[in-house]
């Protein structure tokens, strides 16, 4: 069966047979970069369309349906429009920072792609501190947002950026604790180890209620971290017009937009890896036949299905709930999520030490 693993393996063997190791590695790097950029573009197009379709269905509408069959080329047309638009820079803006900010946000999103296992043995970089790397790099994105808000020299942008700063810094904590529960259970920070530990069942099912709580906390925290409704205070359309990207237009705006969706994809991919077993197929106890059938589905499909399920969940939140107020947002974190996640971590540690999980 043709799998992503065999493709990468043959490519690598062929490259190392043909060229010296240094050149082969360089070519591999170029291929990976090209693939990553392609993935970005495709994900951006697909996720924006998906969001619009989900929103439309929830809002008893049809959604985009004019460009191409069922409107599938709508986002491509939108991208074309954004590329052709002039990227305005306000007169009073700090021009260097203003133009730099979207790229910082974008780069952070790209860096996060490295340790994600898309399929069995299909990973850019299986770093041994994968989870730590993710949580540390993802917190960098706030710098880009603050930079954009400050450099725009617009009061709405500034307010949005400051809100975003407070929000991301606080929600990092619960997201970190939720991730830590899995690290405690697995005993490793490496992504491949975490996936391998879920071979006989996903942590969501193995780890009793504490892991389910951790999963819920994780989803809430990453929704906040990616500035998605109901925590979209940084943008807060009805309050701050567009928040930190009020002054951006054209492709610079598109980069922010793209980065938002890429971030959603990444946090959902990490969520899927940690709690839903990444590319691991669904295995149930001793049902050998069932497990065999499940094994026939390619691992990349498993990964994508889980990720998109989580993405759908986050979109579902967005189109159902009203937005929180800024002080309520921080209340929710410091008064509810943080105590619960601390207590939860304690429970999980007890479970892990006593070996009470399956």
């Amino acid at each position: 069966m043709l799998s992503l693993e065999s493709i990468t393996k043959t490519t690598q063997d062929w490259l190392f047979a043909k060229f010296s190791p240094q050149i082969a590695l360089t070519i591999e790097c170029v291929i990976v970069i090209l693939l990553a950029i392609t993935l970005f573009a495709v994900l951006g197009l697909v996720l924006v369309l998906l969001e619009r379709k989900v929103a439309a269905r929830i809002q008893i509408r049809l959604g985009p349906n004019r460009v191409g069959p069922g409107g599938i080329f709508q986002t491509a047309a939108d991208t074309l429009k954004l590329i052709m638009k002039e990227g305005l820079t306000p007169d009073a803006a700090d021009k260097f920072l203003f133009n730099l900010a979207p790229f910082i946000v974008m780069m952070v999103a790209m860096l996060l792609l490295a340790p994600i296992a898309f399929a069995k043995n299909f990973q850019i970089w299986d770093i041994n501190i994968g989870v730590l790397y993710i949580s540390s790099v993802s917190s960098l994105s706030v710098i880009g947002i603050l930079m954009a808000g400050w450099a725009s020299n617009n009061k709405y942008s500034l307010l949005g950026a400051m809100r975003s700063g407070a929000q991301i810094v606080s929600y990092e904590l619960s997201a970190g604790f939720a991730v830590l529960t899995i690290v405690v259970l697995t005993g490793s920070l490496q992504i491949s180890d975490i996936v391998a530990a879920q071979e006989n069942g996903w942590w969501l099912f193995k780890g009793h209620i504490p892991v389910i709580i951790a999963f819920v906390l994780y989803i809430i925290a990453v929704t906040a971290e990616t500035n998605r409704a109901p925590f979209d205070l940084a943008e807060a359309e009805s309050e701050l017009t567009a928040g930190f990207h009020t002054e951006y237009s054209g492709m610079k705006f598109a980069l922010f937009f793209l980065a938002e969706y890429i971030n959603i994809f990444i946090v959902c991919a990490i969520g899927a890896t940690l709690f839903l077993g990444g590319w691991m197929p669904l295995h149930i106890g001793h049902w050998e036949n069932f497990n065999h059938v499940m094994d026939y589905i390619p691992s990349s499909v498993w990964f994508m299905v889980k990720t998109f399920f989580l993405i759908f969940l986050i979109m579902w939140f967005r189109w159902t709930f009203p937005r929180l107020r800024v002080d309520q947002l921080l209340n929710l974190e410091w008064k509810y999520l943080l105590p619960i996640s601390l207590f939860n971590l304690l429970l999980v540690t007890v479970i892990a030490i006593m070996g009470w999980y399956f």
Binding site: R57, Q59, I60, R61, L62, W319, T320, Y336
Partner: protein, 158 residues
């Protein structure tokens, strides 16, 4: 006590959120609830209410005759000067002069579609038509002459 309140608060909050998600989830999975009207595509089947006030028209019968006597009641009733009537004098076969309209000028761009002219008309010469696709490339096309060229007043209308 504090802990009990805390837990019930969290429980009530989460359950209210889930209730909302169930509602939106219901609509997500039931595509028959979609109410979008695909307007330019459904023009053939689109039916407006018969009373819809789209624009003022002057109905003519098959002999190209209307019932407007040129009394200017509609012009007086109009609150914003949309209607202008230019009259002329026809010579009837008996040799008598008879007042008739030369042009019934109607400026759609000024019309607020209030129906006061139709209500004021003593001989039911004008009525509201359910047309709504009024956009044109030139504003002057919105100034219309409602009586057809060569049209006459119907016999017996005074």
């Amino acid at each position: 006590m504090f802990l009990k309140d805390y837990i019930s608060e969290v429980y009530n909050g989460v359950s209210s959120l889930l209730k909302g998600m169930r509602k939106t989830g219901y609509y997500f999975t039931h595509s028959k609830e979609i109410i979008t009207e695909q307007y330019p595509d459904n023009r053939a089947t689109l039916k407006l209410a018969d009373r819809f006030k789209g624009e003022v028209v002057m109905p003519h019968d098959e002999n190209n005759e209307h019932t407007c006597t040129g009394c200017t009641a509609c012009e007086l009733a109009c609150p914003n000067g949309t209607i202008k009537i230019i009259t002329k004098f026809d010579i009837t076969p008996e040799g008598k002069k008879k007042k008739a309209i030369d042009a019934f000028i109607y400026r759609l761009e000024m019309c607020t579609l209030c129906n006061l002219c139709v209500a004021a008309c003593p001989s039911d010469a004008i009525k509201m038509a359910p047309n709504f696709e009024h956009s044109v490339f030139d504003r002057s096309k919105l100034t219309k002459i409602l009586n057809n060229p060569g049209s006459k007043i119907k016999e017996g209308i005074e």
